[in-house]
Amino acid sequence: MRPQPTPSPAPFAARPVPTGDPGGHDRGAATDAAINGQPARTTIAVWDPFVRIFHWMLATAVAAALTTGLLLPATWTRLHIAAGTLAAALVAARIVWGFLGPHFARFATFVGGPATVLRYTRELIGRRAGRHLGHNPLGGAMIVALLALLIAITATGTAALGGVLKAGPLAFATSYAAGSAAREIHGLLAYALLALIALHVAGVLFESRRTREDLVGAMIHGRKRGMPGAGSARSAQARPVLAAGIVAAILAGSTLVSAALSQRPAAGVPTAPLDPAYAEECGACHIPYHPSLAPAAVWTALMNGLSDHFGEDASLDPATTRAMRDYLVANAAEAYDTRAANVFRRRAADDPLRLTATPFWRRRHAEIPAAVFASPPVGGEGNCAACHADAATGRFAPAAITIPKETTS
């Protein structure tokens, strides 16, 4: 399909486009005169189907990613990653289309240098700015900024996924420290994206009013009011087959590379199953807590005080006590780099032995009602495995969290 301006631009050919404006551009008053004259009633296909589908899919993916990332609990992380991945794929396709798409889709058509943007801004302020068939220079700058921001968000998100959650293509090479720094930036960029989206929408509404054209509608049906000079002569020819080929190659390539990298063992994640003797002895009264959930000093203190263990005698014979202590100390938080191993190193000063007293634990479980912890299927705050299916591995991945429903008996 060839989204060329239709019908024939011949009726407008008589009127030259004002100076060096690749997007099609006319001057306010003259426009209205032209519009009210009969030829201007005609509309021109400006946004090709890919640009429109891209735009609304991206808006949906970004809305889903922002909602799951900023508003919803960690249990939505899987959907958040899916939405982010979709947004990244769309951005990649849009960039290819920016070089191989039809005239109005090309970066060359709507990306001007700072001088162009500045000139247009000055014209806007002076109420002298004309109307553009494609993106105006400010709109073009916005698109570049949005695409660049989305690339940065994808990169920091992938690094955060790798370092903090020890999943995805970067898990094998990203430390928790690097991942959580990336996560901070990822969050800040998300707010920057929100701000840009607000500006983008405000710009569209402003421009719609100013030029009396429904720009939102144009992004749906693709057509805009015709205007002089939107000739096909200088329109770039779209190369849809080549573009589709390149996009398919990029997506297939990155999927393969990402899958291959994701297969590599994640850095600092425990892989050995729990020692059976430990699981037996320290799993008699509660789940056997993974050794990576507490620093060596905490395990040593805990093992030295087993005869008064949170108000109970949990003592073992000296040989078993030594064996358990050695196992715990050798596999303590310091030996791993998972999120749990990192966050549970910080202990409450007044209750250092309790995992459930750590600041991180209290913060992340603050919204779960006490009644849920007391309910029979959970049976207490310390029963991590009731909600975290992977508790025995020490991973505590968000995707493995489900709060069990109380069955009526």
Partner: protein, 140 residues
């Protein structure tokens, strides 16, 4: 504690069980009973164990630990039912009729007597208390 329909039912079951007489302890439980009998004799205490004394001991509130006042706090009023630890983990029933492998491994039995007696009574249990307790559980 007020009698709930459930505990009334449990009491009913108890009566039936008492009427039919103690379930016989297997050879492994008998070996453990013999071990405690020998210890009791050596300490100069009566070595004939009583399931009734064991039951009273099992239910008594010893007033040492607020969280674990009695053995039945974790092992429940009816030892044929599964119990629950303070941390919420289920405990298999203590009654030999429900779990025939109960009281078959002396080291295991000793480990838990040491722990649970210290938690609930703040001291070690005597051989007689242990023997009565096992006799009670073997009768259930």
């Amino acid at each position: 504690m007020r009698a709930t329909p459930r505990s009334t039912f449990a009491a009913g079951l108890f009566a039936v069980a008492a009427a039919t007489g103690p379930a016989a302890a297997g050879p492994a439980q008998q070996a453990i009973l013999d071990h405690y009998a020998a210890e009791a004799k050596a300490a100069g205490a009566p070595s004939a164990f009583s399931a009734a004394r064991g039951e009273a001991f099992f239910r008594a509130k010893h007033g040492v630990s607020a969280e674990s006042p009695s053995c039945s706090a974790c092992h429940t009023a009816d030892p044929r039912n599964p119990g629950r630890t303070r941390a919420g983990k289920p405990i298999e029933p203590m009654a030999v009729s429900a779990v025939p492998t109960r009281f078959t491994d002396l080291a295991e039995v000793e480990k838990w007597f040491r722990r649970n007696c210290n938690t609930v009574l703040g001291r070690a249990c005597t051989p007689a208390e242990k023997g009565d307790f096992v006799a009670f559980m073997a009768s259930r």
